[in-house]
Assembly symmetry: C3
Homo-oligomer: 428 residues x 3
């Protein structure tokens, strides 16, 4: 249970808010690289941290992320055309480069110095992996580029999708660091999903419905361990890393690719979920890629031409009560991603955390909130650089491991939780 003012602090991310300032210290996913597929392709409107921006790729392949609206009279640059080194507004032909600098005001005399005085807000936009990343903060504080393993492995080993989720970012993130719901909500996925099924780990998962949670704080975030009974004096540990502010990974299963998420606030009542699958030591197989494209695993199907899920609140997520009754799905909703999204959206745009009743399995959520709050307040009050900004903190992995009962998971799995390029994830 949170006080209302803490709930406000954690959920509001517009310009000038404490959590908004916190997010503005990190590189954040802005778009998929596929959204700007070639030089001079159509620009793309995006909103991030409540700022409306336009992303484009110029004639030389440079990426730009600038204010959506022309400096002149405020029309959307989405109607513009990228050409000859800049994005030209459709109204009077004003032209901007990827840094938001005005290159040309056609109505002005040839020798006018006016264009040089015009500059739109701009942010860096950089491809790392399948994602175009941006940084919305003060350039003086700009950190190194992201080093999450899923964007650093060869591209044939990794796949990323994104989807629009119609609720505040925090309740979405909280779903990602709460692995206790998997045995219930996703029980069908453990049995049937081509990207989840058929592992020894799943058997442990379903056999022990009362996992014990242990949370270890590290510099950049948390490791959240869920302990279940195994045989031979061992526990089965599923370990979920959370890196500030919103990176999580699902612990691996057998030889399946590993899944994870990055949550990015669109505004206070919507977020983007960037969802990835990668394998640390081999390419994804054609079957795996086909399953991801088809919306299996943590991916989903779309309303054609959009990144909105095909199953959404307007169609009650295509809830199938008969399938629920027959036990084919637990909630009646099909697919792991939409099972999560449907419940998180059902909490309302921003869940009222003054009413919640947390239990021991929510230990990860509690710790993450504390760490976010502490970091936001320290930044606001003392200008303190928040944890996880340093790209070194990105080099973490999730793991699923069997550990002798007497050992602490964080010691036993220390090596498994760090990225060792080319070495396979620790997975049961």
């Amino acid at each position: 249970m949170l006080k209302q003012e803490i709930n406000e602090l954690l959920t509001r991310t517009g310009p000038g808010t404490p959590m908004g300032e916190l997010f503005r210290r990190y590189w954040l996913p802005a778009l998929l690289a596929e959204e700007l597929p070639e030089n001079d392709c159509p620009p793309v409107r995006i909103k991030i941290l409540s700022e409306r921006l336009i992303a484009f790729r110029d004639s030389d392949g440079r990426y730009g992320l600038i204010d959506e609206f022309c400096a002149h009279r405020g029309v959307s640059l989405w109607f513009g055309r990228s050409e000859e080194g800049g994005l030209r507004c459709a109204y009077h032909g004003w032209k901007y480069d990827v840094n938001g600098r005005c290159l040309e005001v056609p109505s002005e005399p040839e020798d006018s110095r006016f264009p040089q005085k015009v500059k739109l807000t701009s942010y860096p936009l950089v491809q790392v992996g399948g994602i175009l990343w941006t940084y919305l903060g003060d350039p003086a504080n700009q950190p190194e580029l992201p080093e999450f393993e899923f964007v650093r492995v060869p591209s044939e080993q990794s796949y990323t999708s994104k989807r629009w989720q119609e609720c505040n970012w925090l309740q979405a993130l909280e779903g990602g660091i709460d692995s206790s719901h998997v045995s219930w909500l996703h029980s069908d996925g453990l049995k049937n999903d081509p990207l989840f099924k058929g592992t020894k780990g799943n058997e442990y998962n379903m056999a022990d419905m009362k996992p014990f949670f242990e949370v270890v704080e590290v510099d950049g975030g948390l490791f959240i361990g869920a302990r279940r009974n195994a045989e031979d004096g061992r526990y089965y540990w599923r370990i979920t890393p959370w890196v500030m502010p919103s990176f999580t990974m699902i612990p691996p299963r057998g030889n399946h690719p590993v899944h994870g998420h990055l949550w990015v606030p669109i505004d206070d009542e919507n977020c983007w979920v960037f969802t990835f699958d990668y394998h640390s030591d081999r390419p994804l197989t054609p079957d795996e890629l086909a399953a991801m494209h088809a919306g299996h695993g943590v991916h989903n199907e779309y309303v054609p031409g959009t990144y909105r899920p095909l199953q959404n609140k307007d169609n009650d997520y295509m809830m199938d009560r008969q399938a629920q009754r027959r036990g084919e799905t637990f909630s009646g909703v099909k697919g792991i991603a939409m099972q999560d999204a449907s419940l998180q959206e059902s909490m309302g745009p921003i869940v009222d955390r003054t009413k919640e009743r947390l239990v021991s399995t929510d230990a990860g959520i509690i710790k993450a909130r504390q760490k976010l709050r502490k970091a936001a307040e320290a930044l606001r009050d003392d200008g303190a650089t928040p944890p996880g900004v340093d790209a070194a903190h990105h080099r973490v992995r999730s793991a699923s491991v069997l550990v002798p009962k007497e050992e602490a998971f964080i010691d036993a799995a220390r090596e498994a939780l760090a990225v060792t390029p080319g070495v396979k994830h620790a997975s049961v």
Copy 2:
């Protein structure tokens, strides 16, 4: 004409409002019994008096009406499954009984006493007739169950439907106690509707377009008499009872079933209209039932899979100007129910009563408002139990009678206005 503050008082029914507290002293229709057709059927989301609730029917057939949102982290229990004596949340498997008590928190140890400390808001949900009734007030004040005749006659004598109306409850109710509009708005129905047409009373109705209204206050509400000329030194009286806060009955016509309504606030800009037809001394005929299912009389057709009328404000109620011009309908809208709903919704979500100009035929409306206001203020200021709570007040009937000119309708029809089980309505 009302002062704005009185309009506010009468129209706002959320928790803590004077009128909301008044409604919380009565049994109210929450759902049709058909919405929870069998044990462990899918739960149903409803909103009533601005509270979001979930209704379900457990494995033993007990009905429950509880807070829509799980006590744990606030997801909607609509995604849950009713099974083995309770409703289980789809997220982490928390389970609740029909009284909102938490039966199980699967992640907790077997011997944990935690679940016993968790309880959701719950209200009684009881079937009487074709309706599931609830009571949202303090259990200490819970009255006897409803005794309206339409829910007490054998089920083959009664039929109830419901529809969503997109305006405040009070302007809908006011339509129900205003019988002066019938000769205008519903003139086509008197001629053609299979559940209205072909009676001697309709002839009086259409022959005298200037009815005189007389309103008699009784303990539980009002009797509103509309007097029209008849022959042989008599008047034709149509008498409409209103029982606090929102029960009305249309005066009967010949041997047709009798119609009536109960209006229930969803929130301040929407209401449920529960609409019934019954006959006091015989089963409804197959033809009558077929007409009701087809949306005749006071019933209506639906957007498939919903209780929203097929004719609604998004399609201008399927207004047919040609039919209006030819005189087939007076307003261009088809059907008695939608003729009322279309006009009541056209007033806006909450009509501005500071601008109205009431006339003598609005005497019933004026008296009803006064009685509602007085009761709400007496409850707020003195805790006074409001009129009509006692189920004895439910045992009223509407009537249409011929009365010698020198007699008062309330005396002449005293017997006709009381329920005498098995005895036919007084009807012309």
Copy 3:
């Protein structure tokens, strides 16, 4: 760049606002005459200056524009029927004449004087040309009827359409007095549109992309001259008149009809655009009329049964990126009207003028705002009659002329800028 309070002053037009009071001094287009095509035809709901009204045409052909809502209990008179000299409410049959006077309250005694005391707000509604005009101000100040040439020429010489635009009136008007965008946004239209193409003037237009602007203030508004280079020691001047508060005309092209607009606030976030084409000395040809009906020139196609453009913000104006890339359109949007509307709507419901960067080509916009502000303040502070109210100010024309370099356009074109009935527009 405007201060926010000036932006508010200029954009808010509801009752009691300074700009709203200004608009209430002028005759304004309320409907197309085609919307009330015959006596006793269906009434039409309109909103204008944030007032909800109903327009109708009675049995004798008189036009009425009255409060949308019945004085009795507030239902919409849109459901009413025009018959026997008045509009009868569908609820209880109250009847109103074109002046909003209540003619009949059927429930009242024959000799009741009550109806005489009931009167709805009403405004004059007068056909001049293809438009029904209204005046929402104090009758004491009502000016003469409009004398714009397009409504005064014989009807076969003129054509008017209207469309709903989803933004504040001022940013729409500003598009109309800004002719510098034509060479960019509408470059395809100059080449291909059947109502624009193939003139010598267009060649000047496209050859000189840096027009010089000169604005001349006159009593009723402005003449905005855009000067481009021509041959033989002359300039090509395109001259746009603006008559207070919202009448503009596009300078003519060759022998094409002349186009123009009148913008009327619906409320602060929507406006009606009345769009006309006329020829001063000949009937419009069948080909021209066919082109207008098909949505060419400054007209557009519609969502069937409405005045909403078929291309609208819900379908991204049917943006065609391939056509944009091939250079067939500059913004990807088809049609001159929707090219304007799409950009103006993209600014948001009310553009934030504190952020704009105006340039010399915006001189007309700057002057128009100053004149509007001055007039609104003078009316508010001193009750001063605003400019352009006198119908004499309506008798202006746009013109496109070749003028020797040493002459001022306003002197050289003085005759061309005044209406001379039957004499052709000055056009290149």
